[in-house]
Amino acid sequence: MVEKALLAIFLEGVFIKNFLIIQFLGLCSFVGVTKDVKSAAGMSGAVIFVMAMAATASYLLYTYILVPTGMTFLDLISFIVVIAALVQLVEFVVRKNIPSLYRSLGIYLPLITTNCAVLGVVLLNVQSEYNFMQSVVFGIAAGVGYTIVMLMMASIRERSTFVSIPSSIRGLPQAFLIATMLSLAFVNYFWVIPI
């Protein structure tokens, strides 16, 4: 396998392999927490942190425990354990330090545990045989891509509440339409950076 430059991995993670609207991972938070920019930003911060930490921890776990013992088939279940623990940790910290954010995130904070985007990052790292730095960069990139899309979506949805549209597509249908258009915009990155 050809060694990829870190910048290429980063850009690929943010734009071309964008987790939310190209790979369709982690959609429940995408629809659920994008009603206002503030909570979308908070959620994104938490997700960046969890993704970077999960990429780090899972790389160490995979390379230094699972591979030497020949237990690589345990990757899925052990990654889930690691991610769940990390999310719990983030929840403790947020609850202690930013109670207002904790309240506005509500159910979605524990939902990062089952957020397939986080597990997706970790499994893609293993699949692409990235080394340590590449894994961490890809983790951060995935988080940054998530953040960009979350903020775009939240801003659009915040503004579009003032638009008069038929009541039959108000709310979630409208959100799906916005998501479609965002997704189409991001698909164009395939041609911008051919990899």
């Binding site: 013992t69 345990l74 354990v81 623990a85 719990q88 940790l89 609850r95």
Partner: protein, 266 residues
Amino acid sequence: MSTTTTFIIESMAILGGLGLAVGLMLIFASKKFKVETNPLVEEIITILPGANCGACGYAGCADFADRVVNENAPITGCPVGGFEVAKGIGGILGQDVSESEKQYPFIRCHGGLNCTDRFEYVGFEDCKAVMMLSDGEKGCSYGCMGRGTCVRACPFDALTIGEDRLPHVNRNLCTSCGLCISSCPNDVLVFAKESEKVHVRCVSHDKGKTVKEVCTVGCIGCKICEKNCPEQAITVTNFLAVIDQDKCTGCGICVEKCPQNTIEIR
């Protein structure tokens, strides 16, 4: 030992060890980042019904308990628990609570089968869906559509759609949470106190002739009840009789006189 057994033991050891390490880390973190919660909140959570129905307007029972202690949410805010729970919360917080009268949802329409249909509706069984088709299938656009949106909104199974295609309230199960009332798309359901005996079972503001064409029990605005009420408790405005419950003594004269049998004592 066979290789399979070693293999299983090894994988168990790795997963178990991982779990143990993670668990220890979390215990440490939960000690370090412990949030001091008010013990009163925990105490209130234990006496709340725990239905998490959201009828109080907060995210759930735990959220309500938190708001009661920290943000002056009303002690009587839980409609499901009623007086007993309010008294319990008052006891914990050292406040007196006086009992308010029980109130139940009341269906302000007697149409059902007495009201003609304009067309045969085939589709999703939901009042809101029926409403989208030119204000419903019923000849009267004010009345109950009987498609059971309120029944599905009730978390306590207190409502049923009867033979007459109108919702009926089971008072033993009803907790007065008001979720059915907010779910009704036609505002047919309202709260009525138990002492309020006499009710007009119609909400139609149509003229008498129009009402008579579609419904045999609707209010035609003839003002007979208004003239006969000894307490002047009834006024007919906009072709609909409205009872002032403060003045009403429940004598029942209007019920007898009403030519359409719209007014009833319950």
